[in-house]
Symmetry: C2
Subunit: 396 residues, 2 copies
Amino acid sequence: MALALEGLCVLDLSRVLAGPYACMVLADLGADVVKVEMPGRGDDARAYPPYIEGESAYFMSLNRNKRSVTLDLKNPAGRRLLTNLAAKADVLVENYRPGAMARLGLAYDDLRQTNPRLIYAAISGFGQTGPYAQRPAYDAVVQALSGLMSITGPEGGPPTRVGTSIADVTAGLFAVIGILAALYRRQETGVGQMVDVAMLDSVVAVLENAVARFVATGEVPAPLGNRHPAIFPFEPFDTADGQVMVAAGNDDLWGRLCSALALPSLASDPRFRTNPLRHDNYRAMREILSEAFIQRTTEEWRAILDAAGVPNGAINSIADLVQDPQIAAREMLQDVVHPVAGRTIIPGIPIKLSQTPGTIRRPAPLLGEQTGQVLIEWLGLSGEELAGLRNSGAIG
Amino acid sequence: MALALEGLCVLDLSRVLAGPYACMVLADLGADVVKVEMPGRGDDARAYPPYIEGESAYFMSLNRNKRSVTLDLKNPAGRRLLTNLAAKADVLVENYRPGAMARLGLAYDDLRQTNPRLIYAAISGFGQTGPYAQRPAYDAVVQALSGLMSITGPEGGPPTRVGTSIADVTAGLFAVIGILAALYRRQETGVGQMVDVAMLDSVVAVLENAVARFVATGEVPAPLGNRHPAIFPFEPFDTADGQVMVAAGNDDLWGRLCSALALPSLASDPRFRTNPLRHDNYRAMREILSEAFIQRTTEEWRAILDAAGVPNGAINSIADLVQDPQIAAREMLQDVVHPVAGRTIIPGIPIKLSQTPGTIRRPAPLLGEQTGQVLIEWLGLSGEELAGLRNSGAIG
C-alpha cells in the first residue's frame, strides 16, 4: 500500500527534539527523511540516558523511519555535499540558533538559488525575528516565559512545569503543518518558501482560553490543581484504593453521576441543579461527593460510572498505560527491533489514515548508517568519490 | 498576497475544542472554513464563560476566520443540505462520538458516494476503533488515562493536570497534519480518505521519553516538579523577589553559569564538572546555587545570565506575557474587533510562512451569520429556496 507522503524528500538537520519530532511525523507518513549528522558525534540526543545496550532510548524513540548520513558542515566539501542534497530535496528542517546556517552559507537564501522549490523550515526558541531571536532556549525556559507554568500546578501552589517537553513538541507539530501547507501552495506556484516556527509562539498558541479569560476579566489565571476553571465536578476524587477522574461536563451528566452514586436526591438538590449553582456551592458539593467516592475502589467506580455513561478515567502511571487494552487496539505502542538494542517499545502513529496509513518501517539509524547509500542514491556518487570524501573528512 | 490554503473548502461540524482548533489552523492559513451549527444553540462553547458583552471569550478565541451556517441535522432537508455542502467540500471535520454521524446518514461512507475527493477527519476521545471507542471523553479524562498527569506535578506530590487542554489541542494538530497529508496524496490519486485521530493516542504520542525511560529502566516515571530528569541544573531558583528558570543544558553552559554567578571555582569543582557528576552531587549543587540566586532580583539575574549566554527565563504570569516585547514583535497576541464584543485580544498565528503568511481576516462569526451567503455561494440557492428552508426549520 502506498504512503501519504511517499516520494517526498526531507533533509533533517535538526537535533534533540523539536526538529527531529517534526521529521519523524513526516517519515511516519511516508517521507524519505535523511538525517544529517556530525561525524563521530551525531545528534546530541544520542548521548541522552537511559541506554539500552549503549543506544539511547531517547534517540531511538524519536528517529525511527529515518536514514542517517554523516557530513561535516565545517568542511567545505561537506557543505558542498549538503548544498547538492538540498538541491534534490523537497523539504529541509533545521533547529539551529537563528544565523547559524547563514554563517555556513546554508541559509534559505543560499539554498533556494539552486532549488527554488525547496521548503525550508527553521524551528527555534523564539523565532527568526524579534528582540529575543538570538537567545538560547530550552523547553523549560519557554514553558516559564510562555505563562504555561503559571497555570499548571497544585491549587494555591507554585507554577509547575508540564512533565513532557510540550514546547518542543508543539513547535514540531506546527512546523509540520507549515511544511505541508507550503507544499500545497507549491503545487500551484512551483515555488517553495521558508517556514519560521518558534517554541514560544507555539506554546502561546496552545494556552487555550487563558489569554481570553485574562482579557475578559482582568483576573490573572493561576494554577488550579486538577480542577476545571468553569465546569463542576471535573476533577479526581479519592477512592478506597486510589483516585478516579470524573468529568461531568453538563447538567445531564450531573444527573447521571448522582444516580451512579446512588444519591438520586442530590440531582434535585437546589444547591447543585445547574453548573453555575455547583460553582457557587462547590465546597459543599465536593464534600458530599468525596464521602461517596471513598466507599469503593477505583475499579468498582469505573465500572459503575461507565455503565451510567459518566466520563471517567483512572489516573494511570506509565506502567498502567503500557498495559491498557485501548492502547494495544490502536497500536499506540509498537515493538521495534533495533540492530544493537534489540527489541524495544516506541510510541505508535496517532494519525490513522484509512487509505494510506503510516507505518514504522525501520528502527532509528546508527550514526552514519546510510551515508554511502544516500549519497549514491540522491547524488549518484561513485565508490571512488565516496572514498575521497571519507579521506578528506567531509563525510563520516 | 495569496494564502497557502486558499481555495480549500472545509466544513467544520465540530464543537468546543479539538475540532474547532484544527479548523482554526486551516482557516488561519487561508482555507474557507464553514462552521455548521445547530440553529438557536450553536457550538457548546458559545455558552462557556467568561463573556464580553454576552459573547463567549472562549468561543471567540477559537473560531476567528470562520463563517457560521445554522443547519438542523435532525431535519431531513437539513441533512440533504449538509450532503450537498459536503459534495462541494475538500475537507469535513467532526468530533462527535463514533457512530453519531452514521446514525444521521452522514458518515464518511455515505458522503464519499457523492464526493470521492472528500477528506473526512473524525476526532474523538479514544478513536473510531478499540474497546473504548464508544466511551465519552473530556480532556481531563484523557490526561488522566494517558499517563501525562502521572509525570506532571510537584516532586513527590500528586499527579497534576496540565493547565491547558493539551489532549484536545494536540489531537487538533495531528488532525490537521493528517488532513494535509491526505490532500498531498489526493493530488496523485484524485481520491480522499478518512483521518481518524484520538485524543488518547495524541497524548501518548507527545509523552516524549517517558515510555522510553520506563521500557529501558523498568522505573515508573513520577512527577519531577520543575526539575529535568537528566540535566542539571535545569530548574527554577528563588531570587530576592521571585524566581528565575535556569537551563544549563551542557557542561559549557555550566561553566558560563558559574562565571555569571561570580563563582569561578565552582566550574572546576570536581563534584560538579560534568553532568553525571552534577546528577550525583545534585543536593550540594542545588544548595550552593540557591545561596547565590537569592542575593539579587530576577531582573538582575536575567540581565547577568543573558550577558553570559545562559538560557534563562522569568516564570511569567499571563499578565506578564501580554506585555512581553517578543510576543509583540511576533504578533502572537492580536487585536480583533468583534461586532458585538468590540475590541478583544486573541492569540496570533505560530506558523510564519515567508511567501504566504497566515492572516486573521475576520472575528468569530455570530451564530448563523453567513447561512444565506454560504448557501447561495456554495449551492446556488435562490432567495425563495432559502425562505422555504427557513420556514421548514431546516436552516436557522
